[in-house]
């Protein structure tokens, strides 16, 4: 097993865990965190691929792209959290209307 395959499998497992979290939870903060876990998985796959040809050394381009991706993910997370906080302030809801209220504190 090469390191590229190890990183790829770990990354895909992480993305799978995140996808489960995104579907299984209605709480907005959990969903935003789940998206971040998927993102980490994808970045791990991408970054690990930089070493896909061991004889030619590490390829720095994927790292550069992952850094860009992390910046984008940070901005997106900030926007999502802001929206979620505003939604909570407006309605007291912690999940989107019309979706599972299992882990919701108080509807409206």
């Amino acid at each position: 097993m090469t390191s590229a395959i190890l990183f790829t499998l770990c990354g895909i497992a992480l993305a799978g865990i995140g996808a489960f979290g995104l579907v299984a939870h209605a709480h907005l903060l959990r969903r935003i965190l789940a998206l971040n876990i998927i993102g980490s998985g994808v970045f791990l796959v991408f970054g690990g691929l930089g070493y896909r040809l061991p004889q030619s050394g590490a390829d720095p381009v994927p790292q550069a792209m992952v850094i860009t991706g992390i910046v984008v993910a940070l901005a997106a997370t900030a926007l999502a959290v802001t929206l979620a906080v505003r939604l909570f302030e407006e309605t007291g809801r912690t999940s989107l209307p019309g979706e599972g209220s299992a882990d919701e504190h108080a509807a409206d």
Partner: protein
């Protein structure tokens, strides 16, 4: 690793880069200006239109042009590419965004009630959206596309939340969650392609790609991600509340242009980057999803009681037509005689839908402003008070239904003839059903505008100039049909799958 062919002329003036930089700079200037950024609307719209026209004329005279940003050559550098398809989208984007900017000047200007949060946020969002759209249309690199699409996601979600009411916040969050998941799935596909070929330059990928499991998986992941962002059935659920809840100018931008950016990337992907991996099963699947979107979106549009929701569901349906071009053009292998007609028909539909849908949302916004609500019951007989807006809505509806001589007619005609030529009669049935359903849900609305009792409740006044802007957009959708030869020729420049012309 092959080098790009040298028959491309060096780009003398990088209009493609300017088309991205101008709105980006305007957006940055707009941040400190706040509501006073409304003064940027006229110069911004004119400059954007000028740049788009210059870019299109450059393509018409020089053919497709590439620009190596910072002088770095692919595969390490990120290139911008300007061909007929990019230029056509640049021009339509400039027309629609420019009109929306002019429309928004009094809505979000200094006289709209001072430094409100909405007026403060709107102008940077408008210009950044424009920059993101132009960046998508001129990117020649799949990772650069990811960044541009993310810019669109962030500005789009923020525009949905502009009003700040609870249901808008929920709609914006749902949109953001769908779109972010879509971006990450797209990025995973991009990573697989990078692992295969060590480059993300579209042209280099095209010459390097061999049909195989990894290429198909990568393409499928990227398409699935883009479907979520572009609201193709069954991933459309976020669109109607988001597009209907945003302020009218923002809805116009989102529904007319932002969803098209994802479609544009899917089209680039299967026709330009991975044509060899586009199997019959895959293109037929995209076509079936498009067909379901047409029928399902139209049926839901028929049942809505609010005008903006009717228009938003009609976007779901109209986006379905775009995906009929994949089975009809048959991306796989040999170009067929009907490929050019199907491809051009699909692209034409995307282009013609943009000004028509923007006109509809602007007209709907004016009616909402006049009547105080967009409930269809409250809009009975509104054509008496807002004749120009109602006429703009009707003209745009003619294009959506595909009545000649509109741009929508040209698009549907091209798609229909290619369906006939390729013997795929089932898409003809879908297209005819879709057009009839569009007639049903649009005439249902128009009927209310035009009939009604004599005595009317007093309506809030609406500036005539605004109504003319909506009319101009609707008119440009018709003009696109009348003058369809110029865009047709433009679109063929740099089209990768050069096929035999089969237009009779």
């Amino acid at each position: 690793m092959s080098t790009p062919p040298t028959d491309l002329l060096p780009l003398t003036v990088p209009w493609a880069a300017f088309a991205v930089v101008m709105p980006l700079a305007a957006g940055l200037v707009a941040v400190p200006l706040g509501a006073r950024a409304a003064h940027l609307a006229v110069p911004g719209a004119l400059a954007g239109l000028l740049l788009a026209v210059l870019a299109a004329s450059q393509v018409l005279t020089q053919g497709p042009v590439y620009h190596e940003v910072g002088g770095w050559a692919a595969p390490l550098g990120i290139r911008l590419r300007l061909d007929g398809l990019s230029a056509a989208f640049l021009v339509v984007t400039a027309v629609v965004t420019g009109a929306v900017a002019l429309f928004s000047r009094p809505v979000f200007g200094p006289s709209s009630g001072g430094e409100t949060r909405t007026a403060f946020a709107f102008w940077p969002l408008l210009f950044f959206t424009w920059a993101g759209l132009n960046a998508v249309f001129v990117s020649a690199d799949l990772f650069n596309l990811f960044v541009a699409l993310e810019l669109l996601t962030l500005t789009g979600a923020a525009m949905v939340a502009l009003d700040g009411r609870a249901h808008n916040l929920a709609a914006a969050l749902r949109y953001l969650l769908f779109a972010l998941l879509g971006s990450l799935i797209y990025l995973l596909g991009v990573a697989f392609l990078y692992a295969l070929h060590g480059t993300l330059d579209m042209q280099l990928l095209r010459s390097a790609t061999v049909p195989g499991g990894v290429a198909v998986t990568a393409g499928a992941l990227m398409t699935a991600g883009l479907m979520a962002k572009g609201a193709l059935f069954p991933l459309h659920a976020w669109l109607p509340p988001a597009h209907a809840g945003a302020p009218a100018p923002a809805s116009a931008l989102l529904s007319a242009l932002v969803v098209k950016a994802s479609f544009y990337v899917i089209a680039r992907l299967w026709f330009d980057v991975l044509p060899a991996a586009a199997t019959v099963e895959l293109t037929q699947l995209l076509g079936v999803l498009g067909a379901v979107a047409i029928v399902f979106g139209s049926l839901l549009a028929l049942r809505q009681e609010r005008l903006k929701l009717v228009v938003a569901y009609s976007t779901v349906a109209q986006l379905g037509y775009l995906f009929l071009m994949f089975p009809l053009a048959g991306a796989a292998g040999e170009p067929h005689p009907w490929t050019a007609a199907a491809w051009t028909g699909g692209i034409f539909h995307a282009l013609a839908h943009a000004p028509a849908k923007a006109a509809m949302f602007l007209a709907a916004g004016l009616m909402m402003q006049a009547a105080g609500s967009d409930r269809l019951d409250g809009l009975v007989g509104i054509a008496r008070d807002l004749p120009i807006a109602a006429f703009a809505f009707g003209l745009a509806a003619a294009s959506l239904m595909g009545l000649p001589p509109s741009g929508g007619f040209t698009a549907k005609y091209l798609l229909l003839t290619s369906a006939l030529d390729s013997g795929q009669w089932w898409w003809i049935a879908v297209m005819i059903a879709g057009s009839l359903l569009a007639c049903a849900y649009l005439f249902r609305v128009l009927n209310r505008f035009l009939t009604g009792p004599e005595e009317q409740p007093a309506l809030a006044p609406v500036a005539r100039r605004h109504q003319f802007l909506a009319l101009a957009l609707a008119g440009s959708s018709i003009v696109l049909g009348l003058l369809s030869l110029v865009p047709y020729d433009l679109l063929q420049i740099g089209r990768v799958t050069a096929a035999v012309e089969a237009l009779s």
